[in-house]
Symmetry: D2
Subunit: 162 residues, 4 copies
Amino acid sequence: MGIRIFVTGGTFDKEYNELTGTLFFENTHVQEMLTRGRCRLDVEVQMLMMLDSLEMTETHRKHIVEACRDCGETEIVITHGTDTMVDTAHAIAQAIDGKTIVLTGAMVPYAFGSSDGLFNLGSALSFVQTLPRGVYIAMNGRWFPWNDVRKDREAGVFERLA
Amino acid sequence: MGIRIFVTGGTFDKEYNELTGTLFFENTHVQEMLTRGRCRLDVEVQMLMMLDSLEMTETHRKHIVEACRDCGETEIVITHGTDTMVDTAHAIAQAIDGKTIVLTGAMVPYAFGSSDGLFNLGSALSFVQTLPRGVYIAMNGRWFPWNDVRKDREAGVFERLA
Amino acid sequence: MGIRIFVTGGTFDKEYNELTGTLFFENTHVQEMLTRGRCRLDVEVQMLMMLDSLEMTETHRKHIVEACRDCGETEIVITHGTDTMVDTAHAIAQAIDGKTIVLTGAMVPYAFGSSDGLFNLGSALSFVQTLPRGVYIAMNGRWFPWNDVRKDREAGVFERLA
Amino acid sequence: MGIRIFVTGGTFDKEYNELTGTLFFENTHVQEMLTRGRCRLDVEVQMLMMLDSLEMTETHRKHIVEACRDCGETEIVITHGTDTMVDTAHAIAQAIDGKTIVLTGAMVPYAFGSSDGLFNLGSALSFVQTLPRGVYIAMNGRWFPWNDVRKDREAGVFERLA
């Protein structure tokens, strides 16, 4: 059984709209990133939504939780905006047992030359294969259990609670 | 105790010499890659050599083995050319116990826009934190024990034996 | 006598603020772009302002006009947001004679991998050396006299009037 | 009548072969570069050969000269390796009158993130529209008449004679 990747949007997939000069979502870059990483894992990419995580509602989270529960895989990576990634991790952890679920994201869009996205995707796909069942966040090269992590918005990094 | 990264060269760090039109080694890009990945691990980067792995001799391998043994860290990532990465993994495994050592590399130099290096570095740094003591290769999003891996040179990917 | 480059901001120099997820201005990339283009012209880069051209006022335009008039060079390139580039070209043309002044910009920020900025800067620096005295816009590989050009905002390209 | 671009290879189009770890030629990047530059000129790209210019023979040069003579356009850009670009310019100048022909190239392959190619292509396409009939080299943001230019191989730049 392979790994399921659920795409929900976030900075990962933001693009520059050259007609309006603003950032927007169009398609996911995850498949392109897997190709670039020469990834040979048995992976299935599925787009659930394409949102800035600040706009994510409880309905969206419910949809993500159901997708995690209903898919056949026990190893799941979720690409997600960093601002509410911890909230979604909580929602998943309260509903699902017996799967390894790793949320990851990016501080800079993949379409920018300087994105951290490829590093984070490589990291999340590795943690999901090796961490015990549970819900985690993978950012900054580190892994965090869902209930021991927060985003330090001023520094733009994730860290353990106290 | 943090993670030690030993740099040995390989495609990872190849650069284009615009005066001669050839590829060569100058400095390692690993620190720059860690910065781009917003890596917040306690990592120390140390350059052991800067070689195409086809030019690596037994003396070079001995030097790598000794560096792995002598450093204080028990988690070690080694960046290495892909052509003889398996040979070096063998040399290390025969000499060292009680450490998690992950070798990784790249099919395309980091200085090229399309490099897989950042994906592989994120992957190796994650595996080294979570795999049991032993010697491994991390490529293509996968991990391989040192004694169950080969490079398929025609396809340019790593795979298990048999 | 060399070429003066006046930087006024525009998409050219937009960057991604990874803490807020928005685009902003910090420093100009023009010097870095000249280095990358291995430019060996006698060029002096001067930042006049750092603005989205939709926020440019008559006071800003007056400042640009004065800078063009007061500098010693007769060949001037101005990097400028595309939305009001034509307006600034008009303001300059009505005030200044005897210099070759070429405005250029970009549809995608230089910091994005897919930017047209380097192409446009190479183009503007070439036109400024070869076009007769006058005020021009250089975009899309083409040159336009200041009074025979408009931006087609739906297509995101510049074209002659009528 | 538009502009003809003849592709002959050179560093512009070198790619990295990830199976052999060497540089090679496959397809030209010129069309992709024009797209990225949002080029709206009436341009036709034609590949004549795909060579390192050190391997270019008199037969190759004859072929380039004939292509320049036989095409309908009077404005021609030629992408060419920098090492013998001056030689080819001489061959063309001795055979052809009444056209503006601009040779350009790159010090770093376009496929590398840090290539000067896009800058040079923007520059060459601009010079070809504005310089009088003749044969020129466009490099480093500058233009040179065919008989007053040499490549300084140690510095990797083009300069006037004497």
